[in-house]
Each structure stands twice: as C-alpha cells, then as structure tokens.
Amino acid sequence: MTDVARIDTGNDIIVCEDVKKWFGEFQALRGVSLRVRRGEVLVIAGPSGSGKSTFIRTINRLEEHQAGRITVDGIELTHDVRNIAAIRSEIGMVFQQFNLFPHLTVMQNLTLAPIWARRWPQARAEAKALELLERVGIPEQAQKYPGQLSGGQQQRVAIARALAMEPRIMLFDEPTSALDPEMIQEVLDVMKELAHTGITMVVITHEMGFAREVADRICFFDFGLLVEIGPPNEFFNNPRHERTKLFLSQILHS
C-alpha cells in the first residue's frame, strides 16, 4: 500500500472537487465539492433521487465519477487499479440491504476479506472478528448464516465486517432504512459507539435524532447538488435555503 503516490491534503481525509456523474443522459451529480475532516461524523440528508447515494459510492469507486477530482487520504481516485485498491482498503461501507454473503457464516463473512485481501493468518482474522462481534453485541451468532439472523443483527454483522479491514473511513448508505422500527435503535447505538472512537464517518440517513446527537456537520443534497452544509444546530434551527426548510418540515413533522 506504500507504492501509491500520496498528496498532502492536510486535515481533510476526503476531498471532492466538482464531482460530476451521469447515468446515460441523466446527470446524477452536477458538481459536488466537499471536504471531510479527519475523525469527523458527516451526515448526508436529502430526498430520494438527490444523488447522495451515488455520491458516497463514487468515493470508493463503486460508481465511477466522470468529471472532477476525488482524493481519499491523499490518494487520488483514478483509473489505476492500485489506487482504487489502496482507497478501498481505507474505506469500509455499510449498505441499506446489508449485503452479507448468504453462503458464508457470520464468522466467514468477517474473515473473508482479511484472509484473502490482507493475507492475515486465519487465527488472527478470527480473533479480530470475535472482538468485533463482541463490540456489536452478537458474539454468540458467529457460526450462524446471515439468513438465520434478524435484520438488526444482520446490519450489525455488516458493520463488523466493514470494520474487520480496519478502515479509517466508514460510509453508511441508509443503514437503518430497511429495518423494522424496533431494530433501528440497536444499529444506531452501534454507530454512536463507533462515532466516539474517532473514525471518520459519512452517513446517509433520515434519522434526524441521530444526526442531531452525533453529527459534526450535516449536509443537504438535492438535484445532484450539495445545497447546504453546516453544524447540526445551524442546520436544524436556521436553514438558509428554501429547499432545506421544505425538506426539514416534511421529515420532522411526518
């Protein structure tokens, strides 16, 4: 991982400059510029189809950006496979639909990438996996298959799986949207605990209580643009843009 050229981006771990992305004729991102600081918890809010999910997927190259520049921990995201691999090894991602590997046990889900991509010995990977499962509160489920767990448990396993690669940045793409209401809190608790460890987190969520409590900054996406960004206090009490006000009134009074 040391053979990749790094640029000094100071205290900013993710630097996006004028990022643009099209799906066919449809422009999903119309020039997003955003800097995420080291250790920051950034919440992204916005209506569906606003490009927020596409945006965080460009950060680890699950979607390719077609214009602009993305730098993660000093590594520029280019077509170079080595850069992409280096960036992905610094970023963990949690998906709305969990996306656990159904053919593997929970333990195998957690040890797959460390063993194959990091070449850790199995014993080390399993020790790390158990430690993480304990952290997310389900060490007793290690030998089960994902299909045997509840949605909340699956999402906690997914968080542990992402953490197993020891990333510096965690991306969350609506982690609680697919969960039954009684399971949302258990996942949010794990995320809150994680936020206090100093890891950088970028979280797309509609859980405004979580945002108010944990986020350092909140930003609002609409029509593929970053409309507004600021600390929670300012964002909730004193939004500057009409679109933000409308969105907040819809989401807070429903």
Binding site: N60, N99, F101, Y145
Partner: protein
Amino acid sequence: MTTARAGNAGVPPMESPPVGEAGALAWLRRSLFSTASSTAVTFVLGAAFFLLGWRFLRWSIEVANWGVITTNTRVILWGRYPEAELWRPQAAAALLGLLAALTWIVWRRAAWSRLRRPMLLAWLASPLVLSLLLRGFELPTLRTIGNNLGYFLVRPDLLPILGAVWRGPLALLLVAAVSSLNLASASGRIARALGLLPLVVLLGLNLPSAFQVVSGPAGLPIPMAVPILLAALAGWWVGRSLGRIVSRTGRGRGWKVWLWLATGVVVAFILTDFTVGRPEIDPQPVLPGVQPSLWSGIMLTMVLSTLSILLSFPLGVLLALGRTSRLPVIRYACVGVVEVVRGVPLITILFMAQVMLPMFLPMDLSIDRVLRAIAGMTLFTAAYLAEVVRGGLQAVPREQLQAARALGLSELLVTLLVLLPQALRAVIPAILGQFVSVFKDTSLVSIVGLLDLLGILGSITKQREYLGTVREVYLFAALFYFVVSYGMSAASRRLEARLGVGIR
C-alpha cells in the same frame, strides 16, 4: 419455547387442525373409484397393465436367453482390455468410488469443511490419474535423462528440435512467457538475471534452425527465423501481461519455483520427447501401455462420461465467465463458441471430432479416437453448462459484488469467493441434470464406431451362438442406463435438499 408459552397466561391455547380422511382405502376410493366412469377406466387400464406385465414376465423367464449377458459379462464390463491388466480399470473404478464416497461424507459434515479444498483438488487431478492408470505410462530413468542430456550437448543435430519444426518455437514460447513473467514480478536483480538465463539458452538452441527454410502451407518457403521470433515475442508479451496481474495480487514467491520446475519438465518433454538416446537405454515402463482403442464396454462408457463431466465443468464455468467479461474479444469469442456448439447436434460434433479434427492437426500429432470423442463430448457439454452457469451468474445480485469490492477484494477474488459460489449453488440441479444427460449421450459414440456399452452389445448380438438375442441385450442396456441415471438423479436430489439449508 413451549415452556415459555405454557407459562404465559396471556396467550390463548391453539386448536388442533381438523382430521381429514386418511388411509389407503380412502385414497383408493377418492382417486380410482370415485365415479362409475372412473371405475371403468381403472378396470380397463388395470387389465391392460396386468396382461402386458404377465406376458413380459413369462417371456423373460421362459423364452429369454439371458446366457448372452452372463457369459459375456467380462466383455460387457471391460471390453477388450487385456486380461492381465484388468486390475487397472478395476482399481480406477474403486478409486473413483472411494473419491465419490469421501466427497459425500466430507460435504455432509460441517466439521470437516477444511477437507473440502483437498477433495476439490483430488477431483481436478483425477482425470490425469485415471488416464495414466488406464493408458499406462513410462518414466525416464536417470540413465535416460543423462543419455538425453549428453546427446543434447554433443549432438544437437540428432535432437527432434531440428527435426520436428514446431518443437523449438513452442518451447521458446513457453520459456519466453515464464521469463518475462518472472521479470515483471521479480524484485531482486539476481532473480531477474537468473530468470533471463533459460531464455538465452533457448534462443541459442533455436539458433541453428533459425537459418533453415521450411515449406509452409501451399508450399510457400518460410524462413524458420520468422516463427521463432514470433514465438519469442508472443511469449514475452503474454508473460508480461500475466506478470502485471500477478504483481497486483501480491502472492508469495514459492509458486515461482514450482512454475520454473514445471516449465523445465514440459520443455524437456517437448524438446526430447524422452525418446532420444540409444535404444538399449529405453525408458522404464511403469505400467505397460494399453491403447485407448482397446477400451470398450461399460468401462468405456464410464470413462467417457466421467472424463467429459470432469473436463467440461471447468471449461463451462470459464466460458460462462468469459461471456460476462468486459473485454469484447473474450466476450465475443465465448459467445461464438457457445452459440456455434449449441447450434449443432452432438452426433455432428462427434463426427467432426473423428473426421475433421485430424485434418487441422499436424501430421505427426495423431490423437486417439477415444480422446477425440472425449474432446467432442466435453466441448458440447461445456457449451450447455456455460449457459446454465450464466443463468446462475445473473441470479447473484449486483449488490453482492459491490459489497465484496467495497471490502477491498480484487476482481478475481470477488469472482472466486463471492460470485461463483453463489452462482453455482443456484444452478446445482440444472448442472447435475446436464451430467445425467452426458452419461446417456455417451451412447452416441457407438455410431461413430467406438465400442462403448451399446457398441459392444451390438457386436455381441452377432455372436453365432447368441443370434436373435437382440431383445435381451437391449433390455439389459436400457436397465443399465436407467439404474445409473436414476442413481445420479436421486443423489442430486439429496444434494439439493442438503444445500438448501442455510443459503438464504
């Protein structure tokens, strides 16, 4: 669970489900004798079946001459395989049975899951072991090797490298590939230089023939320097591309030693065929050779189906993966192969393999008829398997791949660890069904003149003392194919039921 429920006073008690009509009599009344017309049909059909069954039974006990099967058992089982060597196909059958039984046990127990990879390797290696066992093989002794090397250094003009035109460039191609692979992925200066040394040696060995001119197709004179240079460049390019991929996956160094050793053996084989040397220092036959043309009977049927199944599976998976490749050349090549082969009847492919294949191959490279049949069957099955596997690949959600990529797995690992296991699991029933039909389709080789079970049975009916026993013989064939096919389907159903656990 139940105690917790019983202790909970708030939960209302459950009622037991209603009791329906049960028992054999009730079933009979309901499905066979419910109305007058249904009763009539039942009696008519019952009488017809009874009559047919009775006549068949009387024929098979009183008229049929089963001696044609019992006296010919050895021929039906092993065909014309030499009697003294019969233990070899028997050992091969025992080995296969043992392997199958072990696989079954290993896959049943989660605790033995560590043994799964060795079992898989054993299956992959089994075609080689089986063919060595059945065909026989020779090993060069130390004296032969020394003898050959002596000739190699002192009398290069005796080497086949100069006689058979293609050997020199082929060896050069291999060594150039490995050399440049080594160069692209090695770090130390000495390691690089050492890797280049064999290439220099091979170039030197090709030097004498480079000055020759051979007549190519249509009598055109071709200076040998051209194919030699082309081979070297092609090998170099392939090795360099491979080296870049390998250096990204960042594996250890041990494999390189093995690669060089394997290349050394292959190149030595290409160059010398281990046949150069004085006739009195011949290679030692470990197992005397039994040409595949002598393989016949049930043994040939089993060899054909086993080898076609084992070889077509990896090929089919590769074709399916190739079809999803982002590189147009690979994708269209795979689409082409799959569609062309699927558009042609198997019997045509078998005829092509017997008649056309030799036309495309060099004169001195003759492939045995059995091997040609195996090649045809393998290609045919692989094309169908590729379509089945492609269905499985499409059934895996794209999000699974994204999750795997986000974890930092390379594309190769994503395919091997996440995509293929899920895809193959989804299509196991279809794959096993394909294998059953491969087994039955092997009977077609009797049409192109191979003596598989059907072929040998056909020749048995022409024995003088058993003329007119066609019915007995083909009934036996039907029974054999049914028993084996049904066994395979039953095993595959149990496998499906087992794999259904814990998938989703």
